[in-house]
């Protein structure tokens, strides 16, 4: 047989075999068993602040002619004492004089079972024409939400300064 055809047929046979074995015809084999199992149980979380977000909160102008400002905030750490289901953690900075609230949501599940997790603040930019003053008062909150139950872990007032460089 022509070697090219042999190679092609062999490759196709292997591919076909892997595909068929993966499917419902061969229920004993499951290549995708590494699925993230849906977290069981009612969403519930018990957490405390380990490392509060202390440091500078700034609006920093984006580079490369972006003409937007990014809100930069210190990273926080929370300690999870118990968890079930898939609750979420919210790191929120409420700029009430701007009528804007920026936040980062972290979804948790059983894999983040215990120990501490760090929460980096990562939120969309804000348009430059929205910022008129040099600084803005803000409320920083870190809270957990599970099954419509919100627990505030941290709540403080800060001043966000606008940096142009």
């Amino acid at each position: 047989m022509d070697p090219t055809r042999g190679i092609v047929l062999t490759a196709l046979l292997i591919t076909g075999a892997v595909m068929v074995v993966s499917g419902p015809l061969v229920p004993q084999v499951d290549f995708t068993s590494r699925d993230v199992a849906p977290a069981d149980g009612q969403p519930r979380i018990n957490a405390t602040i380990q490392q509060p977000p202390v440091g500078s909160f700034t609006f920093t102008r984006g580079g490369y002619g972006t003409d937007v400002y990014y809100l930069e905030a210190p990273t926080a750490e929370i300690r999870i004492d118990s968890i079930s289901g898939s609750p979420l953690v919210l790191y929120e900075i409420d700029l009430y004089t701007l009528n804007r609230s920026l936040s980062t949501v972290t979804f948790l599940d059983a894999r983040t079972a215990d120990g501490t997790i760090s929460l980096a603040f990562d939120a969309p930019a804000i348009e430059s024409d929205q910022l008129q003053s040099d600084s803005y008062p803000a409320t920083v909150r870190i809270l957990t939400r599970a099954d419509n139950r919100t627990t505030v872990l941290y709540n403080t007032s800060v001043t966000v300064s606008v940096r142009d460089s």
Partner: protein, 690 residues
């Protein structure tokens, strides 16, 4: 054991191979076309995310499920906002309808194929396996092109099967509920791949094979087409229609074509326009108002019979569009974008209508009223403009026992009027902007950042046309060339001709088939731009996606530049090496810069914008006359000039491909739901902050 079986099947296999070969030639032209297509497809798999990038796609996926079920109305919301209040959702007679029905019907074969394969194959492994088969085929055809069949097949087999194993080892489950979206995405990928092939074939027909390969490659992988190839919006399809018409138009006028074939190609061009209307009526009209006058003015024969054939093809191909409108709105001339928008408050019926079994979703002859809908269904327009004079739904519902005998003629005329209003309005406004607002033009076409963006301020992620397709910088050569030609013409040295051509008389030059095709490309690009300028700059465009159909037309213009063709002809190797180098190494350098400097999404996009812009401007090099170089006029200077040109084109194309890859892997990451698990792992490691 396999061999004897194969020998037995040989006659059958030969016959099959012959028909496959014929089909392949019809679609791809030749082996280069096949390789271009497979290369594009192989790369699209790497950036394929089975998730919604833009919420406009919800309604398209829901429409596909409806049409696959055998009806036009949407009776279940499988994707997106469960209330059904989604961008592009329409409500007529208490029924929800989607849009882009032509695009949806194109995706049906892929949907059925996926559904059929899912009976025996796991969804994730199916996508992985498909990628492996594409790689195998690519190896085989590259090998055949290079005259090294065995090595090519071996490379394809090793990479295809190897990645199959690696990806399978990393595989996680993929919910089969995504099938409709995946089918739409696959279809869009195929369309994007074909777009490059059609451009290649256009240049091959003009005797410029190398230019065709380069432009075809750039269109598929180094232009915004690559960015939108895995995002099933209409733009890739209407862009494909644009180049399809261009190719058919050229072939209908080319030398060595029998009158009968010429007529067939003309019919094809008009049929494409008509089918485009089924996807988006306004864009089809844009294509038609340039094609029709140009075609009639330059046709080889102008007898009534020669007009009748294309007109007939147009009308026949328009039937699906007219029928869809008739079935939904009761008015064949009222396309989807004129149907009332659904805002989630109007009473609608989801689930099967009772008492209308097997009705297939069409309004029942005999005027069966849709249950639960008052006669005066609210028709308040949402973001789309509904004609004030438009028919109230129900008013023109077909009556009588036998079909759609009664169509309200005045309503048809009214919607025609509205269509033209909606159509000519933007074009005149576009002209106003083009002539009176240079700053806005700059934000659309040249530089997006740094100048106090207007509506486009969001995140700074919206690039201009030149920033997203920097290869168009080669068009900077046009004024230079024109100037040189004028000087030469005045001094009596040469005739006037911007583009390369063997013809010497101005009149004949103006009338060559290639020139007529140039006019079609430029005319369509201008009309498209004028139509959309009043709405631009706009957010979530990323690459001025409204102007996506303009991109391949302008790439055609680039390829038509004599200076570009010379650079590619003599610097083809330089192009290939620099392109491969920049894609393989430059992508990593850019990524390293973005990650090490902790750039945010908007900054990363604007970094690409600035780099692309610089690269694009450098392309003016190809227009610099060789004799200005040291040692000018000699063979050495010529090849040096061309090599630098080839390198520049390769670098600029490579930078654009780098954006296509990094945008998917690192910048615009939504849910990390890549088709290929290996890519997902990579992306996990390099996703940047928003």
């Amino acid at each position: 054991m396999i061999s004897p079986l194969v020998e037995r099947l040989d006659p059958l296999a030969r016959r099959l191979r012959r028909s496959v070969g014929r089909l392949g030639t019809a679609l791809f032209g030749d082996l280069y076309g096949v390789v271009l297509f497979l290369t594009a497809l192989a790369v699209y798999f790497l950036v394929w995310r089975v998730e919604f990038f833009i919420n406009d796609n919800w309604v398209i996926a829901n429409t596909l499920l409806a049409v696959a079920d055998g009806h036009l109305y949407i009776d279940g919301i499988a994707y997106g906002n469960p209330s059904g209040a989604q961008p592009g959702m329409h409500v007529v007679d208490g029924r929800l309808y989607g849009r882009n029905y032509g695009q949806v019907v194109l995706a049906l074969p892929a949907y059925w194929l996926l559904e059929a394969l899912l009976v025996v194959v796991d969804f994730r492994i199916l996508l992985i396996g498909l990628h492996g088969v594409v790689l195998l085929a690519l190896g085989v055809y590259v090998g055949r092109l290079a005259g090294r069949e065995v090595q090519g097949a071996a490379c394809g087999a090793v990479s295809g099967v190897g990645l199959l194993f690696v990806n399978t080892a990393l595989a996680t489950g993929l919910d089969p509920a995504w099938t409709a979206l995946a089918a739409l995405q696959l279809t869009t990928m195929v369309a994007a791949g074909m777009l490059g092939v059609v451009l290649y074939r256009t240049f091959r027909y003009l005797g410029q094979r190398r230019t065709g390969i380069v432009i075809g490659l750039i269109a598929g992988l180094a232009s915004p087409i690559g960015f939108w190839a895995t995002i099933p919006k209409r733009h890739v399809f209407t862009a494909l229609a644009g180049v399809g018409i261009l190719y058919a138009f050229l072939r209908s006028r080319g030398g060595g074509v029998s009158l009968r074939d010429a007529r067939r190609y003309r019919m094809l061009a008009y049929a494409i326009v008509a089918l485009t209307a089924w996807i988006n009526a306004a864009e089809a009209l844009l294509l038609l108002i340039v094609l029709a006058p140009l075609d009639l003015l330059t046709a080889r024969v102008g007898s009534p019979r020669d007009v009748a054939w294309p007109a007939g093809a147009f009308l026949v191909a328009l039937v699906p569009f007219l029928l869809t409108n008739l079935l939904v709105a009761g008015n064949p001339m009222e396309p989807a974008n004129l149907w009332p928008s659904y805002r989630g408050v109007e009473p609608v019926l989801l689930g099967d209508p009772s008492g209308v079994p097997g009705n297939g979703g069409t309004p029942t002859p005999g005027g069966t009223p849709t249950p639960g809908t008052p006669a005066g269904t609210p028709t308040t327009p949402g973001e789309t403009q509904t004609p004030a004079s438009g028919p109230g739904p129900g008013g023109v519902t077909p009556t009588g026992g036998g079909g759609f005998s009664i169509v309200d003629v005045s309503a048809v005329l009214a919607s025609l009027g509205v269509a033209f209003d909606q159509f000519l309005g933007p074009i005149t406004r576009g002209l106003d902007v083009a002539l009176g607002d240079p700053e806005r033009l700059e934000h659309i076409f040249v530089r997006s950042g740094g100048l106090g963006l207007r509506r486009a301020a969001y995140q700074g992620v919206d690039m201009t046309l030149l920033e997203s397709t920097p290869i168009l910088g080669a068009l900077l050569a046009v004024p230079v060339v024109v100037l040189r030609r004028i000087v030469a013409f005045i001094s009596g040295e040469s005739s006037f001709s911007v583009f390369r051509s063997g013809d010497s008389s101005f009149l004949r030059v103006a009338l060559t088939p290639a020139r007529q095709t140039d006019l079609l490309a430029v005319g369509t690009a201008v009309v498209f731009s004028l139509f959309y300028i009043p709405r631009l700059p706009l957010h979530v465009q990323v690459t001025v996606r409204y102007l996506l159909p303009v991109v391949p037309l302008l790439l055609y213009a680039v390829g038509r530049l004599g200076a570009f063709q010379r650079a590619i002809d003599r610097g083809f190797g330089a192009f290939l090496w620099s392109y491969a180098g920049v894609v393989l190494v430059g992508t990593q350098v850019l990524l390293a810069w973005v990650v090490l400097n902790d750039l945010r999404l908007g900054e990363a996009v604007q970094l690409h914008a600035v780099v692309n812009l610089l690269g694009g401007v450098l392309l003016v090099w190809i227009a610099i006359p060789e004799r200005w170089l040291p040692g000018g006029g000699t063979r050495g200077a010529r090849s040096w000039h061309a090599s630098v040109g080839g390198v520049l084109v390769g670098v600029v194309a490579g930078l654009t491909t780098a954006f296509v890859l990094l945008a998917a892997w690192s910048y615009f990451v939504v849910d990390l739901n890549f088709a290929l698990p290996l890519v997902e792992r990579l992306s996990e490691a390099i996703t940047i902050q928003t």
